[in-house]
């Protein structure tokens, strides 16, 4: 027996599902899905739902590509009047198009959130009509979530750099994080592949976001005693994009070398206080432009860039160190070994490092020891002179560090430190491991 009521219910539901398929597919080339770094808030005194942890975010799932699913990451629409060659949604792409209504995005976000699928929303969009019109739509989703629904989960808005300063100012009042994509490592590549985008506008907008973020931080530092999180006080307390801003760069769509990429990242971190620069290995996309390389760069390249990026931010490395690590491979990071090991091999006079005596800055230079490992070494050596076995207890891989450290007991592996074959030793032990699996 047919039930007309349920049919009329089912059809829009299927339509919505189809739109979701298109607009999630279109969003997957954005690498970020982070829900970290915001202020701590919850719904204990609210009328809606949602909370943020303050520090670490939460990954609610992982897809088989190893990526974290933390936010509902979708485009408002993948219609776009721009023709950026590397983008699957560019005007000249034959991809299927769809557009969400503002209310549909809000309902999806709340429905997903209530089932604990997500930490919040990451909303981006193709440019329709004009930059301002599109940005207005994005802002109104965030605004309604906060003000109409008292939603206190995480919101990341992809910001359109060409939008008016007023809209950029508004966006940060509702979002936890804003991001503007730098897109490509060089200005020449940008004007070649994304003629509608202007590097100067991108930098100006990043500078504007930084200014608002700093102002709001200062304001909050003065009134740090209470942080009230309902929509009204959010404005009166002037909380602006509390998780800062981030950006994304596509790697392998132009011929920029890694040292050039990392020089730009370093600039972005220093100049605009970026929380993160995301690297996205240019991925084969359907309907790709003929102006692009036909092959994508190895995913390992992206991984090495992240490792080097970490060295710059957390290990006290500077650009000279990165250049030194990449020099034997002509400005590209070595794909066979990690950049910290590459740096160590190029600077052997610094080693061996004595784990019982060396200061923190030097311990951070030991290949195979992370920031946490360094902290553990410093803590453990207060109790006794550390031997190789103790490093093992600290869960530091002896295999990785033995060639570079002095311990309280004799270390026979040090004899290889000056050997030209040392790099090969590391590569061999890695392939051996692979062969075991």
């Amino acid at each position: 027996m047919k039930q007309p009521q349920s049919q009329s219910h089912q059809q829009p539901y299927q339509k919505l599902q189809h739109k979701l398929a298109i607009l999630a597919d279109a969003a997957k080339y954005d690498a970020s899905c982070a829900s970290s770094g915001s202020i701590k808030r919850d719904s204990s005194n609210g009328t809606g739902i949602g909370s943020t942890s303050g520090g670490m975010g939460i990954c609610h799932s992982y897809t088989p590509d190893g990526r974290c699913v933390s936010l509902l990451k979708i485009l408002l629409t993948n219609f776009c009047i721009y023709d950026c060659q590397y983008c699957v949604n560019r005007l000249s792409s034959a991809v299927e198009r769809a557009r969400f209504q503002v209310d549909e995005v809000i309902k999806l976000t709340l429905d997903f959130y209530k089932r604990n699928y997500i930490e919040g929303l990451f909303l981006s969009s193709g440019i329709i009509q004009s930059s301002d019109y599109t940005m207005e739509q994005l802002v109104s989703v965030a605004k309604d979530l906060r003000e109409k629904h008292d939603f206190r989960g995480y919101i990341h808005l992809k910001t359109i750099p060409e939008a008016s300063p007023e809209l950029l100012q508004q966006a940060g009042l509702y979002a936890d994080r804003l991001s503007i994509n730098i897109e490509l490592p060089s200005k020449a590549a940008l004007s070649n592949l994304a003629p509608e985008k202007n590097p100067q506008t991108i930098h100006q907008s990043m500078a504007q976001l930084k200014e608002h973020i700093d102002e709001s931080k200062e304001y909050r530092a003065k009134k740090s005693d209470i942080i009230i999180s309902d929509a009204k006080s959010r404005k009166s307390k002037y909380i602006y994009s509390p998780a800062g801003q981030s950006t994304q760069m596509i790697v392998g769509a132009d011929d920029s070398v890694d040292t050039k990429i990392l020089t730009l990242s370093n600039h972005l971190y220093k100049r605009y206080d970026m929380r993160r620069v995301y690297y996205s290995a240019f991925s084969p996309i359907p309907f790709a432009s003929k102006n692009l390389p036909t092959k994508s760069p190895p995913l390992m390249r992206e991984h090495r860039l992240y490792q080097a990026d970490w060295l710059l931010r957390f290990y006290g490395f500077d650009l000279n160190d990165i250049h030194s690590a990449a020099a034997p491979t002509h400005g590209m990071l070595d794909l066979d070994i990690d950049p910290k090991l590459a740096w160590a091999l190029a600077n052997r006079d610094v080693f061996p490092i004595n784990v019982n005596k060396a200061p923190k800055e030097l311990l951070l230079r030991i290949p195979g020891v992370g920031v946490r490992g360094v902290e553990k070494i410093i803590q453990a050596r207060q109790f006794k002179a550390l031997r190789l076995d103790d490093l093992k207890k600290l869960r530091i891989s002896i295999k990785k560090v033995a060639h570079f450290v002095e311990t309280a007991d004799p270390n026979t592996e040090l004899k290889h430190l000056d050997s030209v074959l040392l790099k090969q030793l590391f590569i061999d032990s890695k392939t051996e491991q692979l062969a075991l699996f």
Partner: protein, 296 residues
Amino acid sequence: MHVITVNASEFAQWRNVSRELLKRDISPEYIVWQDPTLTQSSLDLFQDASNSHERNNNNFETDLSNIPVTTPKPSISAETLEAIELASCYRDDTRWALFYAIVWRVMHEDKQLLENITDNQIMRLNHMQKSVGRDIHKMHAFVRFQKISDSDHYVAWFEPEHLILKKTSSFFKNRFKNMTWSILTPDGGMHWDQQSLFYTESSSERPVINDELESLWLEYYRNIFNPARLKLKAMQSEMPKKYWKNLPEAPLIKSLSRESAARAEAMIEKNNQSISDKKLGKQMASIQKKFPTKTD
């Protein structure tokens, strides 16, 4: 001195018993710790009724009352107790003995013992804390509510590795304050009715609920996955298989992985299907028609 058998199944209980033991300076080697909640069923297999009756009488009060108090006010730092409290969620019936051995050493050997991270007992304590902390984090992440149709009740079934249900209450309560929800686990249920939190006895199996919104979540999961970058190992290290049975999206992993190579190839093949200049103009015109620029 003969061996004393004591019971503990919760941190508060362990703390009370330990205090009495420390007051009497009873060294760890004279104590047998039993956890009735974790060991009773296996013990009962071996012991007859009279023995188990004897065991119940064998609690510390009767045993300890004859032993004089030598250290009336034993003191342990708050940090030590906090560390033990967290570790006590670890599902392992040998933990109470370990904790007592540690507080004994903190009192008699080294006040800074917890800092000594290459000490075997401290390594074990740290491992337990870390494991419990991770399990709490994963529970925050992997609980999946299903809405019961025609009601506003959200229900989840979860199987935590450790005894962490109560440790997650504030997270769920503060996040979903204005929702009515229940989280059921083999160790017991936790419920929130928008006013108060309460616990119920253990549930044995997951309830069968059909929440049609789940199909949207599956659609999202399918499409946010990039088939050109299969990294199953990275995925599994963050989302171990033991959680899969209660994740609605997990059954998709196999097919998505299997089809990924073909899908990635199809993406490249479509490379040559960029549209012609003539069509490009049409595309632009159609967007402009759909989203006309406002004229003032």
